[in-house]
């Protein structure tokens, strides 16, 4: 393999990695604050993708433009789902374990609903840039992936700034680190939980808008993404935003190499294998703390 090939693969991997990072950021935020293992996260991304897809098909709205709409609609759906399902269980000692089952149930419901409404046909939003590329000598970058990657990383940057420089961001971080202490400092942790869940699902919606022109999608696709997202988040350390970004960029690049040299069918295997290896070797992830703190 030549150096140009390697650089090419790294570039493609990084652009996809940015999108993966955004897909995983909401998942890790929700786990960090609420200890909810949200296996319904990928189906929320797909719901967001459908919102952008139909806005493009019906009204010709560019998916990047409709991204805020997808995010806001998904934010509202997140709040409703949280109030209906997760709020009443929050006091349970087995909360995290229960959320695994509850979120699978939510995923099944959305999967069925979307399938019934839109069928299981593969869809992809096709703005003009989705099929174009920038060329630099021997290297190329597909415009769609580049835009999606950059927007994703910018959104994550915005999220980090929000967490570190706003009062509500302080409340979210404090609740993540020490829920009881946050309460004693005057944080209404119930409210923080609801809104953070909404923000997490809103990020899934935003990711969906970008995903809609990067990957083809159909409702049941989320089963594949669950493993991908879990492996990214677990590699970085569950609940760590920086970890999710690191995990996403790393695994996306590795998967790009595997895809190039072993064939595209094997590239997804990278994530499954990584999940096994991480859980066996370093279950707390790259940036995670000791396991008992989780």
């Amino acid at each position: 393999m030549s150096l140009v090939d390697i650089i090419q693969i790294v570039i493609l991997g990084l652009a996809l990695g940015g999108v993966y990072a955004l897909m995983a950021s909401g998942l890790t935020l929700i786990f960090g604050v609420m200890r909810i293992v949200n296996l319904a996260h990928p189906i929320m991304i797909i719901t967001g993708a459908y919102i952008s897809y139909w806005l493009f098909r019906l009204y010709g709205i560019d998916p990047i433009v409709s991204m805020p709409i997808a995010a806001i609609v998904m934010f509202c759906i997140g709040i409703i789902v949280y109030k209906l399902i997760f709020k009443r269980e929050a006091a349970s000692a087995k909360y995290s374990e229960m959320t695994v089952l509850l979120t699978v149930a939510v995923a099944l419901c959305f999967d069925g609903l979307l399938g019934a409404m839109f069928s299981n046909t593969h869809r992809i939003t096709s703005p003009s840039y989705a099929t174009q590329a920038f060329f630099f000598g021997d290297l190329y970058i597909p415009k769609g992936q580049l835009y999606a990657g950059i927007i994703s990383l910018a959104l994550i940057g915005g999220l980090v700034a929000f967490l570190h420089f706003t009062r509500f961001g302080y409340a979210i971080r404090a609740t993540t680190q020490n829920r009881d202490a946050a309460q004693l400092m005057g944080v209404n942790v119930g409210r923080v939980s609801i809104i953070t869940f909404g923000i997490g699902i809103g990020l899934a919606g935003a990711a969906g808008a970008l995903v809609s022109f990067v990957f083809s999608f159909f409702p049941a696709k989320h089963w594949e993404w669950i493993a991908i997202l879990m492996s990214l988040v677990v590699l970085g350390g569950m609940g760590k935003l920086a970890g999710a970004v690191l995990g996403a960029l790393t695994l996306a690049v590795v998967a790009a190499f595997v895809g190039t040299y072993a064939g595209a069918t094997w590239s997804t295997l990278t994530f499954f294998l990584a999940l096994f290896v991480i859980l066996l070797v370093r279950p707390q992830g790259l940036l995670g703390d000791r396991l008992e703190e989780m």
Partner: protein, 243 residues
């Protein structure tokens, strides 16, 4: 002096477990340092958690300046003027010392006031000022305790509740902690504290209460309690026969 806090016949416990507080009654007067002592399992920490709103009351009532607190969330109780420093150091380990102080003033809406008060606290505690940019989780036990107590200065609550401020600290550090307790009082706050180490707690307090099996057995001026032979025998570990 006026009654600041009234705990009236409170019954409370964890989950569906047995009641830990069995009709506890306690009154705290404004401007005092009041120390609650009692053996392990007497319900001292539970009492504080109930006052702070971390534990629902099964019956009875808690009032601050005559206003009922029952049913309020911990954040609402803080707004009413009660700040609770629990036993397990309630810090945010990944936040810096300065960020922890900022969290301490979370309920202050005005950023200017918050910044001023953080500066005042950092001035009063040079060790914390030196380590303002350091993560709280990397501080020593004594420094962490100092930080949790110093943090209460930022909201300037009417009542500060401290659950075993001396726990796990070396004697000279314990002394420093009690300097902070006196500082809180000097700045106009009332202090209610719980101590396993009854001698240290009472000798720094104005008023003492003895709690056992979730009931107040006895209360009076701290000095009197310290010298009461019954109390000495029961809770201070001195046998009257040996004396």
């Amino acid at each position: 002096m006026a009654e600041l806090l009234e705990v009236d016949n409170v019954v409370a416990g964890y989950g569906r477990g047995p009641a830990i507080l069995n009709g506890t009654t306690l009154h705290v007067r404004s401007g005092q340092i009041q120390c609650v002592i009692g053996p392990n399992g007497a319900g001292k920490s539970t009492l504080m958690k109930a006052i702070a709103g971390l534990l629902p009351l099964r019956s009875g009532e808690i009032r601050l300046k005559g206003e009922r607190l029952s049913g309020l969330r911990p954040d609402q109780i803080l707004h009413k003027g009660i700040c609770f420093v629990p036993q397990e150091r309630a810090l945010f380990p990944k936040m810096t010392v300065r960020e922890n102080l900022r969290m301490g003033g979370f309920i202050l809406e005005d950023r200017g006031t918050l910044a001023r008060r953080i500066d005042t606290v950092l001035e009063a505690f040079p060790i914390l000022r030196e380590r303002a940019g350091q993560r709280a989780g990397t501080l020593s036990g004594g420094q962490q305790q100092m930080l949790t107590m110093a943090r209460t200065l930022i909201v300037e609550p009417e009542l500060v509740m401290l659950d075993e401020p001396s726990l796990g600290l070396a004697p000279q550090i314990v002394e420093q902690m009690y300097d902070i307790v006196h500082m809180l009082r000097q700045r106009g706050m009332t202090v209610l504290l719980v101590e396993q180490n009854a001698v240290v707690g009472l000798s720094n307090a104005d008023w003492g209460s003895v709690l056992d099996l979730g009931q107040t057995l006895f209360e009076g001026p701290a000095a009197e309690i310290l010298s009461d032979p019954r109390i000495q025998e029961l809770y201070l570990g001195k046998s009257t026969e040996a004396a």
